[in-house]
């Protein structure tokens, strides 16, 4: 009996000593949390591209492009990929171009495309996109359910009076320039 008691006395202090050594070896630590806030917004991006069958745009692939019809006439030669229709009292020159609108953060299935001229055109000239006549006073809807994410071909047309300049026709031999401001609005 005495022998058993003696053993217990020695064992317990030994276990206690091991626990003390373990606590002394642990590194200091601290805790923290990082709260990250992000709100996914919605946005549309519109880019203009040359159409494979159309006039090559300047700055194709951007939102600020240019399209030069070059010399246009009722009966003379036209630039590559410019087509012409002669009507009564006017002729129309046309070429296709592409618009690509990307969307994010919206459940919108499509967009409405509108256009407005930056300045009034000379007498005897009107501009159309997809047969919709544009003005410089109001943004005019052109297409109301365009798909996102792909190049959509549109036809730009200039309808030009055959009348002489000063008699209802446009000036000849000088460059006519205007800017079409397009707006894509999510539906």
């Amino acid at each position: 009996m005495n022998l058993r008691k003696t053993i217990r006395v020695f064992v317990l202090p030994a276990l206690a000593a091991i626990g003390a050594l373990s606590a002394a070896a642990q590194n200091p630590s601290a805790s923290g949390s990082l709260s990250v806030q992000l709100q996914n917004g919605s946005g549309l991006q519109m880019v203009l591209y040359s159409d494979p069958s159309g006039v090559t745009l300047g700055n194709s692939g951007t939102a600020s492009a240019s399209l030069a019809f070059g010399n246009v006439s009722a009966y003379g030669a036209l630039s590559t990929n410019v087509t012409r229709t002669n009507g009564t009292g006017s002729f129309t020159v046309s070429t296709p171009f592409d618009i690509n609108v990307q969307v994010s953060g919206l459940g919108s299935p499509s967009y409405t495309l509108s256009g407005e001229l930056s300045t009034a055109l000379p007498t005897g000239v009107t501009l159309e996109v997809d047969s919709v006549t544009l003005s410089n006073t109001v943004s005019t809807p052109i297409q109301k359910a365009e798909p996102y994410g792909s190049n959509v071909s549109h036809t730009l047309s200039a309808v030009i009076s055959t009348s002489a300049s000063g008699s209802g026709g446009p000036p000849t031999g000088s460059t006519i320039t205007t800017t079409i401001n397009f707006v894509a609005t999510a539906n």
């Binding site: 601290a30 923290g32 990082l34 709260s35 990250v36 806030q37 992000l38 709100q39 996914n40 917004g41 919605s42 946005g43 549309l44 991006q45 519109m46 880019v47 203009l48 745009l57 939102a63 600020s64 492009a65 240019s66 399209l67 030069a68 019809f69 070059g70 010399n71 246009v72 006439s73 009722a74 009966y75 003379g76 002729f91 618009i99 953060g105 730009l156 200039a158 030009i160 009076s161 055959t162 002489a164 000063g166 008699s167 026709g169 446009p170 000036p171 000849t172 031999g173 000088s174 006519i176 320039t177 205007t178 800017t179 079409i180 401001n181 397009f182 707006v183 894509a184 609005t185 999510a186």
Partner: protein
């Protein structure tokens, strides 16, 4: 330590996008000449032309001699020494973006005809030089061109085909 990072994007709703396309052109004056079939096309004196409504047309006068012509649409007449074929051709001259009130039309043969062959339009003799047909043509109206060729009986059997070149010039 508590670090709260107010992250970047607090995008407000942007449901529109814009782009701009600068459009330029230069309108030029122009004039065109095309051959058209008249209202009596196909009847005698007015053959139907091939290539109507273009600037490159043709008309077939057939095979002719002092004995006649095998094309019924060609008017034929003869004397003892020659025969004459006649036919109405119509030209339409159009203009655009011009202040011009009319045009001058000339015609010339593509090559000199053999001796004994004479071509006329509206009684104006044709040669390889330009012959004036009118100095006051009206745009947009068919101009009748009475084309005749007279062949003397001294001309040997041969192909007498000709190309007649027309030039319309705005006045």
């Amino acid at each position: 330590m508590l670090l709260a990072l107010g992250a970047a994007t607090y995008a407000s709703a942007q449901n529109t996008a814009t782009s701009s396309l600068v459009v330029s052109m230069s309108v030029q004056s122009s004039i065109s000449l095309e051959f058209v079939n008249g209202s009596g096309a196909g009847t005698q004196g007015t053959c139907t032309i091939t290539g109507a409504n273009t600037s490159t047309a043709s008309v077939n006068f057939g095979i002719a001699s002092l004995a006649g012509d095998n094309q019924s649409c060609v008017s034929w007449s003869a004397t003892s020494t020659s025969y004459t074929l006649s036919n109405n051709i119509y030209a339409l001259v159009s203009q655009s973006n011009l202040g011009s009130s009319g045009y001058t039309l000339t015609a010339s043969l593509g090559s000199a005809p053999p001796s004994g062959v004479a071509w006329t339009i509206n009684s104006a003799a044709l040669s390889t030089g330009a012959a004036n047909l009118t100095s006051g043509g009206s745009y947009g109206s068919n101009m009748a061109l009475y084309l005749q060729v007279t062949v003397q009986n001294t001309v040997t059997t041969s192909n007498l085909s000709e190309t007649i070149n027309f030039v319309a010039t705005a006045n």
